[in-house]
């Protein structure tokens, strides 16, 4: 008898493999169709150039990230970690005894309060503005 835990995740692993295999199969079928000359495949220089409103692309195509993306990414890391801490708290909060629940609530209020201060600081500093 397989362990129940691995049983559940094993099915999902099989599903993930098939979820990758089905679109990959579509790509392979499409490629086979072109090999069998059922669908057209006549590449040319102009057809395979990059779309740019009828002009030729100048300068580097892989443009750099604008700096404002970094501040968004930093904020995301901070608050996503916060969410990771919130999840187990939220899932177990309803099942705690009343007094213990009150302590835990106050602890979480302090934790979120510090992050809210950080959020307000970021807002004040203008990190949340997109400009």
């Amino acid at each position: 008898m397989l362990d129940e835990y691995f049983r559940q995740y094993g099915v999902i692993a099989i599903f993930a493999a098939l979820a990758v295999a089905v679109p990959a199969g579509m790509l392979i079928i499409s490629w086979l169709l072109s090999v069998l000359k059922i669908r057209p495949n006549n590449p040319s220089t102009v057809k395979n150039s990059i779309y740019e409103c009828g002009f030729e692309t100048i300068t580097e195509r892989w443009s750099n990230f604008n700096f404002r993306y970094y501040s968004i990414a930093l904020l995301f890391v901070i608050f996503d970690v916060e969410v990771v801490f919130l999840f187990p708290w939220a899932a177990s909060f309803g099942t705690m005894s009343v007094q213990f629940g009150a302590y835990v609530f106050i602890e979480m209020a302090i934790f979120i309060g510090i992050l809210i201060l950080g959020w307000l600081y970021a807002w004040k500093k203008g990190s949340l503005e997109w400009s």
Binding site: L2, R7, Q8, Y9, G10, V11, I12, I14, F15, L18, A19, V20, V22, P23, M26, L27, I29, L33, S34, R39, P40, N41, K47, N48, S49, I50, Y51, E52, C53, T57, R61, W62, S63, F65, Y69, I72, A73, L75, F76, F79, D80, V83, L86, F87, A90, A91, F93, G94, T95, S97, V98, G101, A102, A109, I112, I116, L128, E129, W130, S131
Partner: protein, 405 residues
């Protein structure tokens, strides 16, 4: 609450395969063989069901949008144009599949697959019947949050691989938008967890004696707005932004790759509708003569229709408006909602830690008042900011004809 009897899930299929393999004398190998066979069969069924319903959904979307815009929508192929998606698929498969010479070929080819697979994976944990098709994962909702994050990587792959300026602009915006809206979405989910006290999707459904949309409208608002942005539907579709970026991240894709990209894009509303129906609309719960699966599908239809309604009603927001809405609006609302719900649970719960049905009704009354007051106040504050437009100056060319006399 009853369910349709013939509902296939992994475990019924597993038992069936086990008896089959044992009868054919596989002996010790029967167990893992039937495990593998049942897994492959059920996965294949679910994936094809999702692809078929996506095809149906594209037809539904075009018909409904047509009605919104006072036209008919596709109505030529088959009754009410229902074969239109199949015609589209045949056309896209038979179309030439161009790959730009300068493109990063492996990334370009893998991007459609990377976009479809996570969207499909979310369906594994949705409890369509008594449990989901593949049994029930005990951390279902965490799985959804994790798998959703992969989308931003896939969209960035699509933009980066095509090496096109429009595509990379669209996918940069997309990555920034998707990661920003992940946080309000997770905050909306956290309030659901507070009420249900479990990460498993089945127990979230069973704890909804009163639907959570009634108990915490603010949480629903935050989650719905964030989920609409996560799947980049109008009004949040900065990733595509046809009016500014050509077609955004899918500019260079054609043929079957374009078809797969749009398969993922149109599958996302169905998946979101399923998640919203599970978390906030009570999943399979309903009254008795109608089986649970039918209830679930009906709720999904309502959510899908609401998403279409958003698309038909609102114009596209600007990038700065979208980011501001996530960080300044939804984040604060989500935290506020969590605190309100946590305080109410502390007040109203019994000694065993559960909130009774009558107390849930009191909670929902309080929460509706808070939600309406908060949203109206915010609307008043932000609505005051009028668009700063220059005073219209009459064009010097406007009176050219009149100048003569």
């Amino acid at each position: 609450m009853n369910y349709l009897p013939g509902f296939i899930d992994f475990y019924t299929l597993y038992d069936f395969c086990l008896t089959l393999f044992q009868n054919f004398g596989f002996g010790d190998n029967a167990e893992w063989l039937s495990y593998l066979t049942a897994g492959v069969i059920i996965s294949f069924i679910v994936i094809n069901l999702m692809i078929l319903s996506t095809a149906f959904y594209t037809w539904f979307e075009r018909r409904v949008l047509g009605r919104f815009q006072v036209r008919r929508g596709p109505n030529r192929n088959g009754p009410f144009g229902i074969f239109q998606p199949f015609a589209d698929v045949v056309k896209l498969i038979m179309k030439e599949d161009t790959i730009p010479t300068e493109a990063d070929r492996p990334v370009f080819t893998l991007a459609p697959i990377a976009l479809v697979a996570p969207t499909l994976l979310i369906m594994t944990v949705i409890p369509m019947g008594e449990s989901s098709f593949l049994g029930s994962l005990n951390i279902g909702i965490l799985f959804i949050v994790g798998v959703t994050s992969v989308n931003s990587i896939a969209i960035f792959m699509a933009g980066w691989g095509s090496r096109n300026k429009y595509a990379i602009l669209g996918s940069m915006r997309g990555a920034a938008m998707l990661i920003s809206y992940e946080i309000p979405m997770a905050l909306g989910i956290t309030s659901v967890l507070l009420m249900s006290g479990s990460l498993a999707m089945t127990s979230i459904v069973s704890s909804q004696d009163i639907w959570f949309i009634v108990v915490m409208p603010l949480g629903f608002f935050v989650f719905m707005a964030a989920a609409t942005a996560e799947i980049s539907r109008t009004p949040f579709d900065q990733i595509e932004a046809e009016s500014e970026l050509g077609s955004g991240y899918n500019t260079e894709f054609s043929g079957i790759k374009f078809a797969i990209l749009f398969l993922a894009e149109f599958m996302a509303p169905i998946v979101t509708a399923a998640v919203v129906a599970t978390l906030f609309l009570g999943g399979t719960k309903g009254f008795d003569p109608i089986p649970g699966q039918i209830w679930f599908v009906l709720k999904m239809f309502v959510v899908i229709f609401v998403l279409l309604w958003f698309r038909a009603t609102w114009p596209r927001l600007r990038v700065d408006q979208i980011m501001g809405f996530a960080w300044k609006g939804l984040f604060g609302l989500g935290i506020l909602n969590i605190f309100i719900v946590a305080i109410e649970i502390m007040i109203f719960r019994t000694e065993e830690g559960t909130v009774g049905t009558s107390n849930m009704l009191i909670m929902s009354a309080i929460n509706w008042v808070i939600a309406v007051v908060t949203l109206l106040t915010l609307m008043r504050i932000y609505g005051q900011k009028k668009l700063e437009r220059p005073i219209p100056v009459p064009s010097p060319l406007a009176n050219m004809g009149v100048e003569a006399d």
